[in-house]
Symmetry: C2
Subunit: 244 residues, 2 copies
């Protein structure tokens, strides 16, 4: 079982990800928000790579059962129904709805993975469900950290630490024979260095600090919870739904 971790999805296109087993992580906030929306009863998440695609797809769907959610620079997109805070995706708002979802990095990574063999959406909030599913899969997989734009190329520490937590959990107990790439070994070391308190770590990362600045400190609390949303979003056709 070979585990690969990439700290950005920029390097990949759809063809390179085709037929692979992929785990997408965008802790702050796209993967956590996807998990939250489905946990609150949304019917499905339809990830798109850009606003143009979101608008195009919206036109062909029934208005009553679809919502548009996402962000640019962390804020709600004009004409959309929802921003990118998991706190907005309440049962009252999203139950039974299809959500066309467009973010700067996370939904792009999900959209690029649309031809994956398996695609799981992971965060701290559904850690055990993801790890359990990967144990059952018992096959090679790639963790695709969406990262954030701005500094460090596309690297984001909170995504790397989350990837490292998955790798570390898979190694304990050491039942599985794991082959780790450079990226997987680095992620594991970063989890060891920064994973003691997830919330504290998040408050110090570039994107965490930015979100606090623009008024989303509450999102860091939500996104740092471990196993607080024990559900597993996965690719089903071309959309993301909960594993039954």
């Amino acid at each position: 079982m070979k585990i690969d971790v990439s700290f950005s999805a920029n390097h990949f296109d759809e063809l390179q990800l085709r037929d692979k087993n992929i785990v997408v992580i965008d802790v702050l906030r796209a993967s956590t928000t996807t998990i939250a929306a489905l946990a609150q009863g949304a019917r499905e998440i339809i990830p798109v790579a850009n606003i143009e695609s979101a608008v195009k797809i919206s036109g062909s769907l029934f208005g009553e059962v679809t919502l548009r959610g996402g962000e640019r620079s962390g804020k709600m997109i004009e004409g959309f129904n929802l921003g990118n805070s998991p706190l907005e995706y309440t049962e009252a708002t999203v139950k039974g709805k299809s959500i066309i979802y467009c973010t700067t990095n996370g939904s792009v990574a999900m959209s690029k993975s649309r031809y994956a063999r398996n695609l799981l959406i992971a965060g701290f909030v559904n850690m055990s469900a993801v790890v359990q599913s990967l144990k059952e899969l018992n096959n090679d997989f790639l963790i695709l950290c969406a990262g954030h734009s701005g500094t460090s190329g596309n690297f984001s520490l909170e995504d790397a630490v989350c990837a490292g937590m998955i790798v570390t959990r898979l190694q304990k107990p050491e039942l599985l024979s794991l082959e780790l790439t450079d990226g997987a070994r680095a992620a594991q070391a970063l989890y060891k260095s920064f994973g003691r308190s997830i919330l504290k770590m998040m408050k110090t990362t570039d994107h965490g600090k930015y979100l606090v600045e623009i008024g989303y400190a509450g999102d860091l609390e939500i996104c740092s919870g471990i196993d607080t949303m024990p559900v597993l979003p996965q690719l089903s056709g071309t959309v993301i739904k909960l594993k039954k």
Copy 2:
């Protein structure tokens, strides 16, 4: 003084790097080989992004004073004079020569940095010279790890550890007030985790193992030496020369 580290150069184009202070690292092997060639008396290194550019530039230069060096999949390119092992770049071969240099990741990162304000080429072999120069610069800079193709997106552990060693050395003694991005903090943590023995670490990384497989175990010895080539290659016009 803000230190940023990117684990890949893929995210950047020339315009984004324009007027910045850049340090390019490709420990295995482009940055080490560049340092070695100049330490052995090469006149200049002319980094190019692809083979077509190398051939084009060669045509306009005098054959006697120019050499073509580089690699594809770690091996010498057909029609070139030199591969990418620092051991090939001996005084007898390179003294006084201009070297058109083309590699998969390293020369691409150097070429993208051609409009930088300052560009330094760094490896373990010239660590102290790089750190000293950055202390004197006393300004924001970006470390651009070239990485390697294949696994982990473009992430390579040996480049990250080398970047982390630079960050760590700049922090001791704590004279400078440093602001570290996510990438810089991660690099520093990875140096702490994996930097105890550079050679041992290199033997376990994806690209290190690949180079041993194709017969370049000796290169790992050379590239892991610390301060064994105390020179400083830097951008001078559009080529790379030793700092006088």
